[in-house]
């Protein structure tokens, strides 16, 4: 199937489901990195399956994949009690199995953009503003703010990802791979 057809289907049928998908996948646990990974799993599998022929009922198809993804993860994690697995395996009753996603109101989307940009760290926010509103290139942003183009790319890609999360219906807090800081207790330190 032509890529364009698949992409069109993905953007118009699958992506609008993101808010519901995220809240569904959160049944597994609240860790945002795991939820995000599962979300990407769902999208990947959706594309693989739809590659040959587009499914007739997109929403049902995507949520079937989501359910399987949850079950697989839960079993692999082995931390979920048997009763919970049985819960996942129950038919997930969707509110509207057939009705197409309603177009999100323009006002809602504008509010999301506002929240998204306000939640960015100040440096990141300014760079995104220079890019989107004043149309500066990466190099021009770097010159304006007197930083390296590398720094601009790092910040803007983070901002891009956070904004995408927000616009597509998530919470939009910028993720940064924070190094884990492990505090040694006095007892541990003496053994080091």
């Amino acid at each position: 199937m032509a890529d364009e057809e698949l992409k069109e289907w993905f953007l118009s049928v699958v992506l609008p489901l993101e808010p519901q998908l995220v809240s569904y996948l959160r049944r597994f646990g609240d860790r945002s990195d795991e939820v995000r990974d599962m979300l990407h799993d769902v999208y990947e599998k959706a594309l693989v399956g739809a590659g040959r022929q587009l499914p007739r009922h997109g929403k049902a198809y995507v949520f079937a994949i989501a359910r399987n993804t949850l079950i697989t993860r839960a079993k692999r994690a082995k931390i979920v009690r048997f009763e919970l697995i049985a819960d996942f395996e129950d038919n997930y009753v969707m509110e509207d199995p057939i009705t197409p996603e309603r177009h999100v109101e323009a006002r809602v989307e504008l509010q999301r953009a506002l929240d998204g940009i306000n939640n960015l760290p100040p440096r990141c926010r300014e760079m995104v503003r220079l890019r989107k509103v004043e149309g500066l290139t990466t190099k021009e942003v770097a010159e304006r703010l007197n930083v390296s183009t590398g720094a601009v790319e790092r910040q803007m890609t983070l901002g891009m990802r956070a904004l995408a999360d927000c616009m597509l219906g998530g919470d939009g807090s910028p993720r940064r791979t924070r190094p884990k800081i492990v505090r040694l207790s006095r007892k541990d330190r003496s053994n080091v």
Partner: protein
């Protein structure tokens, strides 16, 4: 794992917006996308999210003070939403709208050769900008104005009678009555075609709209100089005019010269027809926009033409 893929995708999206994005860069991106459906999913998702946040343009953000940790300049939600929601219900006759002088500093969107941009506007409308095109937006309380300076754009409009959506190109004006239409400017010729709904097409003379025509789905108008020619009820043709949106070019008995000219809009390497007799050979079919080499091979196979490359030109001849 996903983190790294997202990071790579984000970097590609960022780089692609720079003017020095080459065909080789595009190939590199295509290869990376083809590596895995996961790459495609993550890339397409990010691309859409980034493009949706173009709405930021409508928020009139002041610049952030020098990276202070106190969010001094958080824009209050109420204010911003009020800007979006307020629509002064003044019903200006659409003829009077042209009294506004053409403003100099507007939001601009530009695509390079082979480029494509889908823009989500703050009112919920979208503009799909084709290769080598330029538009400027002027959105006010009373109207939504788009100047098509160059190229071609496909519009999907959220209709609002109190805040009309108008596309202007040279001295032509297209008023949206709702909902989907295409406008193309090529030199002095302007073509407007409606795929869904209805528009009103007119000439702007001395600040007034003259000779307006109502166009319905399937209609198109070809306008140049003083004249406009309307062709009614040809849905198939109008749909084929918008086939670039699905990455295809469709022709039905089109002269090779015209087919070549169409391809040339999308590629830096240009097709040149060197034998006089060849220009009128008729071509029909549906071709992938980006696959220039495939099309050229097809000409070779189907018509036994000679293909020679010289610099940035692909020269097609009979012998």
């Amino acid at each position: 794992m996903s983190e790294q893929i997202e990071d790579i995708a984000a970097h590609y999206i960022l780089r692609r917006e720079n003017r020095d994005w080459s065909e080789r860069d595009q190939q590199e991106l295509n290869v990376w996308l083809e590596e895995s459906p996961r790459h495609k999913a993550i890339f397409w998702r990010l691309e859409r999210g980034w493009e949706m946040s173009d709405r930021i343009v409508a928020l009139n953000l002041p610049s952030t003070p020098r990276f202070s940790s106190n969010p001094l300049l958080k824009i209050t939600g109420k204010l911003a939403v009020a800007i979006a929601a307020s629509m002064i219900p003044v019903l200006l006759g659409w003829m009077l709208l042209f009294r506004d002088p053409v403003p100099e500093h507007l939001t601009e969107y530009v695509t390079g050769i082979g480029g494509r941009k889908v823009i989500s506007l703050p009112d919920g409308s979208t503009v799909d900008l084709n290769t080598d095109s330029k538009i400027r937006l002027s959105f006010t309380d009373t109207q939504r104005l788009v100047y098509l300076d160059r190229g071609e754009a496909f519009f999907e409009v959220t209709h609002n009678r109190k805040r009309p959506f108008i596309v202007r190109s040279d001295d032509r004006q297209i008023l949206d009555i709702g909902t989907k239409f295409l406008v193309r400017k090529e030199g002095r010729q302007i073509v407007a075609a409606v795929t869904e709904g209805r528009v009103k097409f007119g000439h702007i003379e001395n600040g007034k709209i003259r000779r307006d025509q109502l166009l319905d789905a399937g209609d198109r108008v070809i306008s140049e100089g003083q004249s406009s020619l309307v062709i009614y009820d040809d849905k198939r043709f109008v749909d084929s005019m918008a086939s670039w949106r699905s990455g295809r070019l469709m022709f039905d008995q089109a002269a090779l010269a015209d087919v070549a000219a169409e391809f040339n809009r999308y590629h830096r390497r240009k097709l040149v027809i060197s034998s006089q007799g060849l220009t009128h050979v008729r071509i029909g079919g549906s071709f992938s926009v980006s696959n220039l080499d495939g099309f050229v091979r097809l000409l070779d196979d189907a018509y036994g033409l000679t293909i020679r490359e010289s610099g940035d030109e692909i020269i097609i001849s009979r012998d």
